[in-house]
Protein backbone atom coordinates (compact mmCIF):
# COMPACT_ATOMS: atom_id res chain seq x y z
CA UNK A 1 0.00 0.00 0.00
CA UNK A 2 1.36 3.35 -0.98
CA UNK A 3 1.35 6.29 1.41
CA UNK A 4 0.41 8.61 -1.41
CA UNK A 5 -2.73 6.57 -1.88
CA UNK A 6 -3.57 7.05 1.79
CA UNK A 7 -3.23 10.79 1.52
CA UNK A 8 -5.71 10.93 -1.30
CA UNK A 9 -8.48 9.15 0.57
CA UNK A 10 -11.29 11.68 1.09
CA UNK A 11 -11.36 13.45 4.45
CA UNK A 12 -14.05 12.70 6.99
CA UNK A 13 -16.93 15.07 7.58
CA UNK A 14 -16.39 18.08 9.80
CA UNK A 15 -19.06 16.84 12.20
CA UNK A 16 -16.78 13.95 13.13
CA UNK A 17 -14.14 16.30 14.43
CA UNK A 18 -14.46 16.89 18.13
CA UNK A 19 -13.16 19.99 19.80
CA UNK A 20 -11.62 22.06 17.06
CA UNK A 21 -14.61 23.17 14.98
CA UNK A 22 -13.11 26.60 14.33
CA UNK A 23 -9.90 25.06 12.97
CA UNK A 24 -11.99 22.80 10.74
CA UNK A 25 -13.94 25.81 9.46
CA UNK A 26 -10.76 27.81 8.82
CA UNK A 27 -9.31 24.82 6.94
CA UNK A 28 -12.39 24.47 4.73
CA UNK A 29 -12.42 28.21 4.03
CA UNK A 30 -8.81 28.01 2.92
CA UNK A 31 -9.70 25.12 0.61
CA UNK A 32 -12.89 26.54 -0.83
CA UNK A 33 -12.38 30.30 -0.88
CA UNK A 34 -8.70 31.23 -0.81
CA UNK A 35 -6.91 28.36 -2.60
CA UNK A 36 -8.40 29.08 -5.99
CA UNK A 37 -9.38 32.75 -6.20
CA UNK A 38 -7.49 35.53 -7.94
CA UNK A 39 -5.99 38.12 -5.68
CA UNK A 40 -4.21 41.43 -5.96
CA UNK A 41 -0.53 40.68 -5.26
CA UNK A 42 1.62 43.80 -5.46
CA UNK A 43 2.87 46.60 -7.75
CA UNK A 44 4.59 45.39 -10.93
CA UNK A 45 7.45 47.85 -10.42
CA UNK A 46 8.66 45.83 -7.42
CA UNK A 47 9.76 43.03 -9.77
CA UNK A 48 10.44 45.03 -12.92
CA UNK A 49 14.20 44.32 -13.07
CA UNK A 50 15.38 40.93 -14.39
CA UNK A 51 16.79 38.98 -11.45
CA UNK A 52 14.48 40.36 -8.79
CA UNK A 53 11.76 38.94 -6.55
CA UNK A 54 8.99 40.01 -4.17
CA UNK A 55 6.90 37.97 -1.77
CA UNK A 56 3.20 38.85 -1.74
CA UNK A 57 0.54 37.50 0.62
CA UNK A 58 -2.37 35.74 -1.11
CA UNK A 59 -5.22 34.72 1.21
CA UNK A 60 -3.79 32.51 3.98
CA UNK A 61 -0.49 31.94 2.14
CA UNK A 62 1.99 33.84 0.01
CA UNK A 63 3.55 33.67 -3.43
CA UNK A 64 7.07 34.48 -4.58
CA UNK A 65 7.00 36.68 -7.69
CA UNK A 66 10.20 36.37 -9.70
CA UNK A 67 11.39 38.24 -12.80
CA UNK A 68 13.85 35.80 -14.33
CA UNK A 69 16.92 36.92 -16.27
CA UNK A 70 15.08 36.63 -19.57
CA UNK A 71 12.52 39.09 -18.22
CA UNK A 72 9.69 36.63 -17.74
CA UNK A 73 7.51 37.05 -14.64
CA UNK A 74 6.89 33.84 -12.70
CA UNK A 75 5.02 33.06 -9.51
CA UNK A 76 5.61 30.20 -7.09
CA UNK A 77 3.75 29.14 -3.99
CA UNK A 78 6.03 30.17 -1.15
CA UNK A 79 7.08 26.70 0.00
CA UNK A 80 10.36 24.76 -0.21
CA UNK A 81 10.02 21.24 -1.61
CA UNK A 82 12.30 19.80 1.07
CA UNK A 83 10.39 20.26 4.33
CA UNK A 84 7.92 23.08 3.69
CA UNK A 85 9.61 26.24 4.97
CA UNK A 86 8.74 29.41 3.08
CA UNK A 87 11.37 29.80 0.38
CA UNK A 88 11.61 33.59 0.59
CA UNK A 89 10.55 36.72 2.45
CA UNK A 90 10.73 40.40 1.58
CA UNK A 91 11.85 41.60 -1.86
CA UNK A 92 14.99 42.55 -3.74
CA UNK A 93 17.52 41.43 -6.31
CA UNK A 94 18.22 37.68 -6.46
CA UNK A 95 20.41 35.23 -8.37
CA UNK A 96 18.62 32.23 -6.88
CA UNK A 97 16.10 31.41 -4.16
CA UNK A 98 17.76 29.82 -1.11
CA UNK A 99 15.63 28.37 1.67
CA UNK A 100 16.62 29.71 5.11
CA UNK A 101 15.85 26.37 6.81
CA UNK A 102 18.31 23.93 5.15
CA UNK A 103 19.70 25.92 2.18
CA UNK A 104 17.92 24.04 -0.59
CA UNK A 105 18.35 26.42 -3.52
CA UNK A 106 16.29 26.99 -6.67
CA UNK A 107 17.00 28.88 -9.88
CA UNK A 108 14.67 31.64 -11.02
CA UNK A 109 12.67 29.17 -13.12
CA UNK A 110 11.93 27.24 -9.90
CA UNK A 111 14.26 24.28 -10.51
CA UNK A 112 16.31 22.81 -7.64
CA UNK A 113 20.02 23.55 -8.17
CA UNK A 114 21.60 22.86 -4.76
CA UNK A 115 20.79 20.88 -1.61
CA UNK A 116 23.46 19.97 0.98
CA UNK A 117 24.32 16.23 1.04
CA UNK A 118 21.77 15.43 -1.69
CA UNK A 119 23.98 15.47 -4.77
CA UNK A 120 23.93 12.04 -6.37
CA UNK A 121 21.08 10.96 -4.08
CA UNK A 122 18.30 12.96 -5.67
CA UNK A 123 17.53 13.76 -9.29
CA UNK A 124 17.45 17.56 -8.98
CA UNK A 125 15.62 17.89 -12.30
CA UNK A 126 12.52 16.30 -10.71
CA UNK A 127 12.24 18.89 -7.95
CA UNK A 128 10.62 22.22 -8.76
CA UNK A 129 8.91 24.96 -6.80
CA UNK A 130 5.14 24.70 -7.16
CA UNK A 131 3.87 27.32 -9.61
CA UNK A 132 1.05 29.79 -9.04
CA UNK A 133 -0.88 31.67 -11.72
CA UNK A 134 0.23 35.25 -12.33
CA UNK A 135 -0.93 38.11 -14.51
CA UNK A 136 0.05 41.76 -14.85
CA UNK A 137 -2.70 44.32 -15.52
CA UNK A 138 -1.36 47.85 -15.96
CA UNK A 139 1.02 48.42 -13.10
CA UNK A 140 -0.47 45.76 -10.85
CA UNK A 141 0.29 42.05 -10.46
CA UNK A 142 -2.49 39.58 -9.69
CA UNK A 143 -1.87 36.00 -8.59
CA UNK A 144 -3.77 32.80 -7.89
CA UNK A 145 -2.56 29.84 -5.80
CA UNK A 146 -4.28 27.61 -8.36
CA UNK A 147 -1.72 27.47 -11.17
CA UNK A 148 -4.34 26.21 -13.64
CA UNK A 149 -6.68 29.17 -13.09
CA UNK A 150 -7.81 30.97 -16.24
CA UNK A 151 -7.24 34.68 -16.68
CA UNK A 152 -7.95 37.13 -13.85
CA UNK A 153 -11.61 38.16 -13.74
CA UNK A 154 -12.55 41.59 -15.02
CA UNK A 155 -14.18 42.93 -11.88
CA UNK A 156 -10.97 42.47 -9.91
CA UNK A 157 -8.65 43.57 -12.72
CA UNK A 158 -10.64 46.78 -13.25
CA UNK A 159 -9.30 48.10 -9.95
CA UNK A 160 -5.80 48.13 -11.39
CA UNK A 161 -6.57 51.21 -13.50
CA UNK A 162 -7.00 53.24 -10.29
CA UNK A 163 -3.29 52.73 -9.64
CA UNK A 164 -2.24 54.17 -13.03
CA UNK A 165 0.17 57.07 -12.67
CA UNK A 166 0.71 56.30 -9.01
CA UNK A 167 3.50 54.55 -7.17
CA UNK A 168 3.34 52.04 -4.34
CA UNK A 169 4.60 54.11 -1.41
CA UNK A 170 4.13 51.91 1.62
CA UNK A 171 2.55 48.77 2.97
CA UNK A 172 0.82 48.26 6.30
CA UNK A 173 0.18 44.76 7.58
CA UNK A 174 -1.65 44.66 10.91
CA UNK A 175 -2.77 41.61 12.85
CA UNK A 176 -6.41 41.78 13.95
CA UNK A 177 -7.74 39.56 16.75
CA UNK A 178 -10.91 38.66 14.85
CA UNK A 179 -11.97 36.19 12.20
CA UNK A 180 -11.47 37.46 8.63
CA UNK A 181 -15.26 37.38 8.00
CA UNK A 182 -15.90 39.61 11.01
CA UNK A 183 -13.35 42.11 9.75
CA UNK A 184 -14.82 42.05 6.22
CA UNK A 185 -18.29 42.69 7.64
CA UNK A 186 -17.09 45.62 9.72
CA UNK A 187 -15.39 47.16 6.72
CA UNK A 188 -18.49 46.60 4.59
CA UNK A 189 -20.55 48.44 7.20
CA UNK A 190 -18.06 51.21 7.85
CA UNK A 191 -16.22 52.11 4.66
CA UNK A 192 -19.19 53.57 2.71
CA UNK A 193 -19.45 56.32 5.36
CA UNK A 194 -15.71 57.07 5.35
CA UNK A 195 -13.77 59.73 3.46
CA UNK A 196 -12.72 57.38 0.65
CA UNK A 197 -14.74 55.93 -2.18
CA UNK A 198 -14.68 52.19 -1.67
CA UNK A 199 -15.05 49.46 -4.27
CA UNK A 200 -15.42 45.98 -2.74
CA UNK A 201 -14.44 42.81 -4.59
CA UNK A 202 -15.23 39.32 -3.24
CA UNK A 203 -13.99 37.87 -1.01
CA UNK A 204 -11.62 40.25 0.73
CA UNK A 205 -10.52 43.21 -1.45
CA UNK A 206 -11.21 46.93 -1.40
CA UNK A 207 -10.00 49.54 -3.85
CA UNK A 208 -10.20 52.85 -2.02
CA UNK A 209 -9.64 56.31 -3.47
CA UNK A 210 -9.67 59.76 -1.91
CA UNK A 211 -11.97 62.34 -3.57
CA UNK A 212 -9.00 64.19 -5.07
CA UNK A 213 -7.72 60.94 -6.52
CA UNK A 214 -4.17 61.43 -5.25
CA UNK A 215 -4.19 58.41 -2.96
CA UNK A 216 -5.35 54.87 -3.73
CA UNK A 217 -5.38 52.15 -1.11
CA UNK A 218 -5.59 48.46 -1.93
CA UNK A 219 -6.86 46.80 1.23
CA UNK A 220 -7.20 43.09 1.82
CA UNK A 221 -8.36 41.07 4.80
CA UNK A 222 -6.21 37.93 5.05
CA UNK A 223 -7.30 34.89 7.10
CA UNK A 224 -4.70 33.91 9.70
CA UNK A 225 -6.18 30.96 11.58
CA UNK A 226 -9.19 30.81 13.88
CA UNK A 227 -10.06 34.19 15.39
CA UNK A 228 -7.17 35.98 13.75
CA UNK A 229 -6.67 37.90 10.53
CA UNK A 230 -4.44 40.51 8.95
CA UNK A 231 -5.43 43.81 7.40
CA UNK A 232 -2.96 44.30 4.56
CA UNK A 233 -2.97 47.74 2.91
CA UNK A 234 -0.85 48.94 -0.02
CA UNK A 235 -0.82 52.71 -0.41
CA UNK A 236 -0.37 54.14 -3.90
CA UNK A 237 0.12 57.86 -4.43
CA UNK A 238 1.01 60.26 -7.22
CA UNK A 239 4.37 62.01 -7.04
CA UNK A 240 4.79 64.55 -4.30
CA UNK A 241 4.44 64.40 -0.52
CA UNK A 242 1.16 63.21 0.98
CA UNK A 243 1.10 62.75 4.72
CA UNK A 244 -2.60 62.04 5.14
CA UNK A 245 -3.42 58.85 6.97
CA UNK A 246 -6.59 56.85 6.63
CA UNK A 247 -7.77 54.56 9.37
CA UNK A 248 -9.87 51.81 7.88
CA UNK A 249 -10.66 49.92 11.06
CA UNK A 250 -10.93 51.50 14.49
CA UNK A 251 -11.15 50.01 17.96
CA UNK A 252 -14.69 51.22 18.57
CA UNK A 253 -16.24 49.37 15.65
CA UNK A 254 -18.94 47.09 16.92
CA UNK A 255 -21.60 45.12 15.13
CA UNK A 256 -24.05 47.53 13.60
CA UNK A 257 -27.65 47.27 14.83
CA UNK A 258 -28.98 47.05 11.29
CA UNK A 259 -27.24 44.67 8.93
CA UNK A 260 -26.35 46.52 5.73
CA UNK A 261 -27.34 44.90 2.46
CA UNK A 262 -23.68 44.39 1.50
CA UNK A 263 -23.11 42.35 4.67
CA UNK A 264 -26.15 40.20 3.86
CA UNK A 265 -24.82 39.59 0.38
CA UNK A 266 -21.39 38.73 1.78
CA UNK A 267 -22.87 36.14 4.15
CA UNK A 268 -24.88 34.59 1.34
CA UNK A 269 -21.76 34.40 -0.80
CA UNK A 270 -19.74 32.76 2.00
CA UNK A 271 -22.46 30.15 2.49
CA UNK A 272 -22.58 29.43 -1.22
CA UNK A 273 -18.79 29.11 -1.43
CA UNK A 274 -18.77 26.75 1.53
CA UNK A 275 -21.50 24.61 -0.02
CA UNK A 276 -23.91 25.41 2.80
CA UNK A 277 -27.48 25.60 1.51
CA UNK A 278 -29.16 26.69 4.74
CA UNK A 279 -31.54 29.57 4.34
CA UNK A 280 -30.23 32.93 5.42
CA UNK A 281 -30.41 33.46 9.17
CA UNK A 282 -29.65 36.60 11.12
Amino acid sequence: MDVQELAETPHRAASQVVGYAEDELAYRERERIFSSGWSYATAAERVSVPGSYAVAPIGHASVVLVRDRAGELRAFKNVCQHRGHEIASGAGPCRALKCPYHSWTYDLQGGLIAAPYMRGKLDFSTVRLSPAAVETVGGVIFANLDASAPTVDGALAAGASLCDGRTLRETHDDTVAADWKTVVERLLARLPDGPLSAEYTWPNHWWLQDPGGAVVLVARVLPDGPGRSRLHVDRYAADGPDERSFELLSEGDGDAAAIPEQVRQFRTRVRAAMGDRESEGT
Binding site: H11, V18, Y117
Partner: protein, 360 residues
Protein backbone atom coordinates in the same frame (compact mmCIF):
# COMPACT_ATOMS: atom_id res chain seq x y z
CA UNK B 1 -2.74 -8.14 8.94
CA UNK B 2 -2.68 -4.51 7.98
CA UNK B 3 -0.17 -3.82 10.71
CA UNK B 4 2.76 -5.69 9.23
CA UNK B 5 1.93 -4.45 5.75
CA UNK B 6 2.05 -0.94 7.09
CA UNK B 7 5.40 -1.35 8.82
CA UNK B 8 6.82 -2.44 5.48
CA UNK B 9 5.33 0.64 3.92
CA UNK B 10 6.89 2.79 6.62
CA UNK B 11 10.33 1.28 6.00
CA UNK B 12 9.96 1.83 2.29
CA UNK B 13 8.94 5.38 2.97
CA UNK B 14 12.00 5.99 5.12
CA UNK B 15 14.27 4.28 2.62
CA UNK B 16 13.12 6.52 -0.17
CA UNK B 17 13.51 9.61 1.97
CA UNK B 18 9.92 10.46 1.22
CA UNK B 19 8.13 12.35 3.99
CA UNK B 20 4.53 11.84 5.10
CA UNK B 21 1.91 13.77 3.11
CA UNK B 22 1.99 17.47 3.94
CA UNK B 23 -1.76 17.56 4.55
CA UNK B 24 -1.12 15.53 7.71
CA UNK B 25 0.43 18.64 9.26
CA UNK B 26 -2.58 20.81 8.51
CA UNK B 27 -5.83 18.90 8.21
CA UNK B 28 -7.95 19.15 11.41
CA UNK B 29 -9.61 15.79 10.74
CA UNK B 30 -6.20 14.11 10.67
CA UNK B 31 -5.33 15.84 13.94
CA UNK B 32 -8.52 14.52 15.51
CA UNK B 33 -7.45 10.98 14.59
CA UNK B 34 -3.95 11.42 16.05
CA UNK B 35 -5.47 12.25 19.41
CA UNK B 36 -6.54 8.65 20.00
CA UNK B 37 -3.94 6.98 17.82
CA UNK B 38 -0.93 8.72 19.36
CA UNK B 39 -1.75 10.58 22.55
CA UNK B 40 -4.10 8.09 24.18
CA UNK B 41 -1.66 5.21 23.62
CA UNK B 42 1.86 6.44 24.30
CA UNK B 43 3.82 7.36 27.43
CA UNK B 44 3.56 11.05 28.22
CA UNK B 45 5.69 13.03 30.65
CA UNK B 46 3.50 14.37 33.47
CA UNK B 47 5.69 15.86 36.18
CA UNK B 48 8.98 15.97 38.02
CA UNK B 49 8.85 14.13 41.35
CA UNK B 50 9.88 17.32 43.22
CA UNK B 51 6.61 18.91 42.12
CA UNK B 52 4.73 16.26 44.09
CA UNK B 53 7.07 15.87 47.04
CA UNK B 54 4.59 16.86 49.75
CA UNK B 55 1.85 14.48 50.92
CA UNK B 56 -1.58 15.44 49.57
CA UNK B 57 -0.09 17.56 46.79
CA UNK B 58 -1.38 17.48 43.21
CA UNK B 59 -0.80 19.01 39.82
CA UNK B 60 -2.64 19.26 36.52
CA UNK B 61 -0.63 17.94 33.59
CA UNK B 62 -1.49 18.29 29.93
CA UNK B 63 -1.43 14.92 28.15
CA UNK B 64 -1.41 15.69 24.44
CA UNK B 65 -4.49 17.88 24.29
CA UNK B 66 -6.08 15.81 27.05
CA UNK B 67 -5.30 16.43 30.73
CA UNK B 68 -4.61 14.50 33.91
CA UNK B 69 -4.49 15.24 37.62
CA UNK B 70 -1.50 13.70 39.36
CA UNK B 71 -2.08 13.17 43.09
CA UNK B 72 0.34 12.36 45.92
CA UNK B 73 -1.65 10.66 48.68
CA UNK B 74 -1.13 11.23 52.39
CA UNK B 75 0.45 7.76 52.42
CA UNK B 76 2.95 8.83 49.76
CA UNK B 77 1.28 6.90 46.95
CA UNK B 78 1.19 8.44 43.51
CA UNK B 79 -1.85 8.16 41.20
CA UNK B 80 -3.12 10.04 38.17
CA UNK B 81 -6.62 10.45 36.82
CA UNK B 82 -7.30 11.96 33.45
CA UNK B 83 -9.89 12.64 30.82
CA UNK B 84 -9.64 11.95 27.11
CA UNK B 85 -11.88 14.87 26.33
CA UNK B 86 -10.36 17.00 23.56
CA UNK B 87 -9.02 20.34 24.79
CA UNK B 88 -9.32 19.12 28.39
CA UNK B 89 -6.31 21.29 29.22
CA UNK B 90 -8.65 24.27 28.89
CA UNK B 91 -10.97 23.05 31.66
CA UNK B 92 -10.77 24.92 34.96
CA UNK B 93 -8.40 23.36 37.47
CA UNK B 94 -11.21 22.94 40.05
CA UNK B 95 -13.35 21.04 37.53
CA UNK B 96 -10.55 18.60 36.74
CA UNK B 97 -9.56 18.18 40.37
CA UNK B 98 -13.14 17.57 41.51
CA UNK B 99 -13.68 15.05 38.70
CA UNK B 100 -10.42 13.24 39.51
CA UNK B 101 -11.28 13.01 43.21
CA UNK B 102 -14.87 11.84 42.62
CA UNK B 103 -14.04 9.37 39.85
CA UNK B 104 -15.68 11.50 37.19
CA UNK B 105 -19.24 12.10 36.11
CA UNK B 106 -21.41 11.59 33.07
CA UNK B 107 -20.26 15.01 31.88
CA UNK B 108 -16.58 14.37 32.37
CA UNK B 109 -15.40 10.77 32.16
CA UNK B 110 -12.30 10.04 34.19
CA UNK B 111 -9.83 7.20 33.75
CA UNK B 112 -6.90 6.23 35.91
CA UNK B 113 -3.56 6.45 34.12
CA UNK B 114 -0.78 3.95 34.47
CA UNK B 115 2.32 5.62 35.97
CA UNK B 116 6.04 4.91 35.84
CA UNK B 117 9.10 6.96 36.73
CA UNK B 118 12.40 7.38 34.83
CA UNK B 119 15.64 8.12 36.70
CA UNK B 120 13.70 8.38 40.00
CA UNK B 121 12.27 11.77 39.10
CA UNK B 122 10.58 11.97 35.69
CA UNK B 123 6.99 10.77 36.11
CA UNK B 124 5.27 9.43 33.00
CA UNK B 125 1.71 8.28 32.49
CA UNK B 126 -0.36 6.58 29.83
CA UNK B 127 -4.06 5.99 29.29
CA UNK B 128 -3.18 2.65 27.69
CA UNK B 129 -3.01 -0.04 30.38
CA UNK B 130 -1.91 -2.58 27.72
CA UNK B 131 1.08 -0.50 26.63
CA UNK B 132 4.55 -1.98 27.14
CA UNK B 133 6.23 -0.69 30.28
CA UNK B 134 7.96 2.70 30.28
CA UNK B 135 11.35 1.05 30.81
CA UNK B 136 10.83 -1.30 27.88
CA UNK B 137 9.48 1.50 25.73
CA UNK B 138 12.48 3.71 26.50
CA UNK B 139 14.78 0.78 25.70
CA UNK B 140 18.36 1.94 25.01
CA UNK B 141 17.43 5.49 26.05
CA UNK B 142 17.57 4.24 29.67
CA UNK B 143 21.21 3.23 29.19
CA UNK B 144 22.01 6.43 27.34
CA UNK B 145 20.68 8.51 30.23
CA UNK B 146 22.42 6.30 32.79
CA UNK B 147 25.84 6.33 31.07
CA UNK B 148 26.14 10.08 31.61
CA UNK B 149 26.71 9.38 35.30
CA UNK B 150 24.46 12.15 36.61
CA UNK B 151 22.21 11.80 39.63
CA UNK B 152 19.27 13.37 37.84
CA UNK B 153 17.01 13.39 40.89
CA UNK B 154 19.53 15.52 42.79
CA UNK B 155 19.31 18.40 40.32
CA UNK B 156 16.97 21.19 41.38
CA UNK B 157 14.50 23.09 39.22
CA UNK B 158 15.64 26.58 38.29
CA UNK B 159 13.30 27.98 35.65
CA UNK B 160 10.45 27.11 33.29
CA UNK B 161 9.99 28.76 29.92
CA UNK B 162 6.98 28.07 27.71
CA UNK B 163 6.60 28.83 24.02
CA UNK B 164 3.45 29.01 21.91
CA UNK B 165 4.41 27.94 18.40
CA UNK B 166 2.08 28.51 15.44
CA UNK B 167 2.77 25.09 13.96
CA UNK B 168 1.52 21.51 14.06
CA UNK B 169 3.14 19.43 16.83
CA UNK B 170 4.93 17.20 14.30
CA UNK B 171 6.59 20.20 12.65
CA UNK B 172 7.89 21.26 16.07
CA UNK B 173 9.05 17.75 16.99
CA UNK B 174 10.75 17.22 13.61
CA UNK B 175 12.56 20.52 13.96
CA UNK B 176 13.94 19.30 17.29
CA UNK B 177 15.13 15.89 16.05
CA UNK B 178 17.42 17.03 13.26
CA UNK B 179 20.46 19.29 13.13
CA UNK B 180 20.64 19.51 9.32
CA UNK B 181 19.27 23.02 9.80
CA UNK B 182 21.76 24.00 12.52
CA UNK B 183 24.57 25.35 10.33
CA UNK B 184 22.03 27.38 8.35
CA UNK B 185 19.69 28.60 11.05
CA UNK B 186 21.62 28.53 14.35
CA UNK B 187 25.09 30.02 13.71
CA UNK B 188 25.83 30.56 17.40
CA UNK B 189 24.91 26.96 18.23
CA UNK B 190 27.27 25.67 15.56
CA UNK B 191 29.98 27.96 17.00
CA UNK B 192 29.57 26.13 20.27
CA UNK B 193 29.26 22.54 19.03
CA UNK B 194 31.66 20.55 16.91
CA UNK B 195 29.35 19.59 14.06
CA UNK B 196 32.07 17.46 12.45
CA UNK B 197 31.65 14.85 15.17
CA UNK B 198 27.94 15.31 15.77
CA UNK B 199 26.35 11.86 16.09
CA UNK B 200 22.83 10.57 16.12
CA UNK B 201 21.46 7.14 16.93
CA UNK B 202 17.89 6.04 16.32
CA UNK B 203 16.13 3.48 18.50
CA UNK B 204 12.72 1.85 18.36
CA UNK B 205 10.97 4.69 20.24
CA UNK B 206 13.46 7.49 20.27
CA UNK B 207 16.84 8.83 19.36
CA UNK B 208 19.96 10.38 20.78
CA UNK B 209 21.86 13.30 19.33
CA UNK B 210 25.26 13.96 20.85
CA UNK B 211 28.47 15.81 20.29
CA UNK B 212 31.30 17.55 22.11
CA UNK B 213 31.55 21.30 22.40
CA UNK B 214 34.31 23.06 20.47
CA UNK B 215 37.78 23.18 22.03
CA UNK B 216 38.65 26.10 24.32
CA UNK B 217 40.72 27.98 21.76
CA UNK B 218 37.85 27.89 19.28
CA UNK B 219 35.42 29.00 21.97
CA UNK B 220 37.44 32.09 22.80
CA UNK B 221 37.34 33.12 19.16
CA UNK B 222 33.65 32.73 18.62
CA UNK B 223 31.43 35.75 18.66
CA UNK B 224 28.72 34.75 21.13
CA UNK B 225 31.30 34.63 23.95
CA UNK B 226 29.23 31.86 25.49
CA UNK B 227 30.81 28.80 27.10
CA UNK B 228 29.49 25.94 29.19
CA UNK B 229 30.71 25.54 32.77
CA UNK B 230 33.73 23.23 32.92
CA UNK B 231 33.90 19.87 34.69
CA UNK B 232 31.41 17.01 34.88
CA UNK B 233 29.69 15.95 31.67
CA UNK B 234 31.98 16.50 28.68
CA UNK B 235 29.57 16.42 25.79
CA UNK B 236 25.97 17.24 25.14
CA UNK B 237 23.53 14.33 24.90
CA UNK B 238 20.00 15.08 23.77
CA UNK B 239 17.53 12.22 24.19
CA UNK B 240 14.19 12.23 22.38
CA UNK B 241 11.44 9.86 23.49
CA UNK B 242 8.53 9.45 21.05
CA UNK B 243 6.21 11.23 20.72
CA UNK B 244 6.82 14.43 22.68
CA UNK B 245 9.52 14.24 25.38
CA UNK B 246 13.12 15.37 25.49
CA UNK B 247 15.77 14.89 28.15
CA UNK B 248 18.67 17.21 27.35
CA UNK B 249 21.99 16.84 29.14
CA UNK B 250 24.38 19.72 28.50
CA UNK B 251 28.12 19.76 29.28
CA UNK B 252 29.03 20.74 32.81
CA UNK B 253 28.73 19.46 36.37
CA UNK B 254 24.92 19.12 36.26
CA UNK B 255 22.93 20.94 33.62
CA UNK B 256 19.77 19.22 32.41
CA UNK B 257 16.57 20.34 30.71
CA UNK B 258 13.34 18.57 30.02
CA UNK B 259 11.29 19.66 27.06
CA UNK B 260 7.87 18.54 25.97
CA UNK B 261 5.53 19.39 23.15
CA UNK B 262 1.78 19.69 23.70
CA UNK B 263 -0.54 19.92 20.70
CA UNK B 264 -3.03 22.76 21.03
CA UNK B 265 -4.98 22.16 17.85
CA UNK B 266 -3.87 21.27 14.32
CA UNK B 267 -1.72 24.37 13.93
CA UNK B 268 -0.52 25.24 17.43
CA UNK B 269 1.92 23.66 19.86
CA UNK B 270 2.87 24.53 23.42
CA UNK B 271 6.52 23.86 24.21
CA UNK B 272 7.42 23.59 27.92
CA UNK B 273 11.08 23.72 28.89
CA UNK B 274 12.28 23.14 32.46
CA UNK B 275 15.86 23.80 33.52
CA UNK B 276 17.55 21.84 36.33
CA UNK B 277 21.01 22.50 37.77
CA UNK B 278 23.51 21.08 40.23
CA UNK B 279 24.18 23.28 43.26
CA UNK B 280 27.70 24.27 42.14
CA UNK B 281 26.58 26.14 39.03
CA UNK B 282 26.41 29.85 39.82
CA UNK B 283 23.38 32.03 39.16
CA UNK B 284 25.11 34.05 36.41
CA UNK B 285 26.11 30.79 34.70
CA UNK B 286 22.51 29.54 34.93
CA UNK B 287 21.16 32.77 33.52
CA UNK B 288 23.63 32.64 30.64
CA UNK B 289 22.73 29.04 29.79
CA UNK B 290 18.99 29.70 29.92
CA UNK B 291 19.33 32.84 27.80
CA UNK B 292 21.37 30.98 25.18
CA UNK B 293 18.94 28.07 24.89
CA UNK B 294 15.99 30.47 24.84
CA UNK B 295 17.52 32.30 21.88
CA UNK B 296 17.91 29.04 19.91
CA UNK B 297 14.36 27.96 20.79
CA UNK B 298 12.94 31.27 19.54
CA UNK B 299 14.77 30.78 16.25
CA UNK B 300 13.22 27.30 16.03
CA UNK B 301 9.74 28.65 16.80
CA UNK B 302 10.06 31.03 13.87
CA UNK B 303 11.23 28.26 11.54
CA UNK B 304 8.31 26.03 12.55
CA UNK B 305 5.70 28.77 12.02
CA UNK B 306 7.12 29.37 8.56
CA UNK B 307 6.86 25.66 7.73
CA UNK B 308 3.19 25.71 8.75
CA UNK B 309 2.51 28.71 6.50
CA UNK B 310 4.49 27.13 3.68
CA UNK B 311 2.53 23.89 3.89
CA UNK B 312 -0.78 25.81 3.95
CA UNK B 313 0.07 27.25 0.54
CA UNK B 314 -0.78 23.80 -0.85
CA UNK B 315 2.45 23.77 -2.88
CA UNK B 316 4.08 20.75 -1.23
CA UNK B 317 2.49 17.32 -1.62
CA UNK B 318 5.12 15.61 0.52
CA UNK B 319 8.62 16.55 1.59
CA UNK B 320 11.91 14.79 0.89
CA UNK B 321 14.32 13.80 3.65
CA UNK B 322 18.11 14.00 3.51
CA UNK B 323 19.46 10.65 4.75
CA UNK B 324 23.08 10.88 3.60
CA UNK B 325 25.26 12.51 6.26
CA UNK B 326 26.05 12.70 9.97
CA UNK B 327 23.28 15.32 10.10
CA UNK B 328 20.82 13.11 8.18
CA UNK B 329 17.12 13.64 8.85
CA UNK B 330 16.74 10.27 10.56
CA UNK B 331 14.81 11.99 13.37
CA UNK B 332 11.93 13.16 11.16
CA UNK B 333 12.06 9.72 9.56
CA UNK B 334 11.58 8.14 13.00
CA UNK B 335 8.62 10.44 13.68
CA UNK B 336 6.99 9.34 10.42
CA UNK B 337 7.60 5.65 11.13
CA UNK B 338 6.14 5.90 14.65
CA UNK B 339 3.15 7.89 13.43
CA UNK B 340 2.33 5.27 10.81
CA UNK B 341 2.69 2.52 13.42
CA UNK B 342 0.34 4.32 15.82
CA UNK B 343 -2.25 4.88 13.09
CA UNK B 344 -2.06 1.21 12.10
CA UNK B 345 -2.78 0.09 15.66
CA UNK B 346 -6.09 1.91 15.99
CA UNK B 347 -8.81 -0.75 15.63
CA UNK B 348 -10.76 -0.59 12.37
CA UNK B 349 -13.79 1.62 12.76
CA UNK B 350 -12.05 3.76 15.38
CA UNK B 351 -10.32 6.07 12.97
CA UNK B 352 -11.94 9.22 14.20
CA UNK B 353 -11.45 11.10 11.02
CA UNK B 354 -7.79 10.55 10.28
CA UNK B 355 -9.04 10.60 6.73
CA UNK B 356 -6.99 7.49 6.10
CA UNK B 357 -7.78 3.83 6.36
CA UNK B 358 -4.50 2.26 7.31
CA UNK B 359 -5.76 -1.20 8.18
CA UNK B 360 -6.96 -3.13 5.18
Amino acid sequence: MGESALVVTAEQLVGEGKAIPSAWYDDPSFYAGERDAVFARTWQYLAHADQLAAPDSYLIAPVGDFAAVVLRGSDGSLRAFGTRRPRAYELPEETLLAAARSGGSSELEIEELRLETWEQCYIFGTFDHQAVSLAESLGPLCDKAGEVGLDYASLRHWERITYEVDANWKIVVENSVECYHCTVAHPELVDLMDMEVFEQTVFENGMVQEGPVQGDSRREEQSSGYSYPSGGVQQGRYMFFWPTFYLLVYPGPGNVSTMRFHPRGPGRTLVIRDFYFAADITDPQRAEIVEFIDRIQLQDSGLCASVQRGIRSGGLHHGTLQLNSNVAEVGPSLVHRKLLECLSQVPAGHHHGTGVDLVR
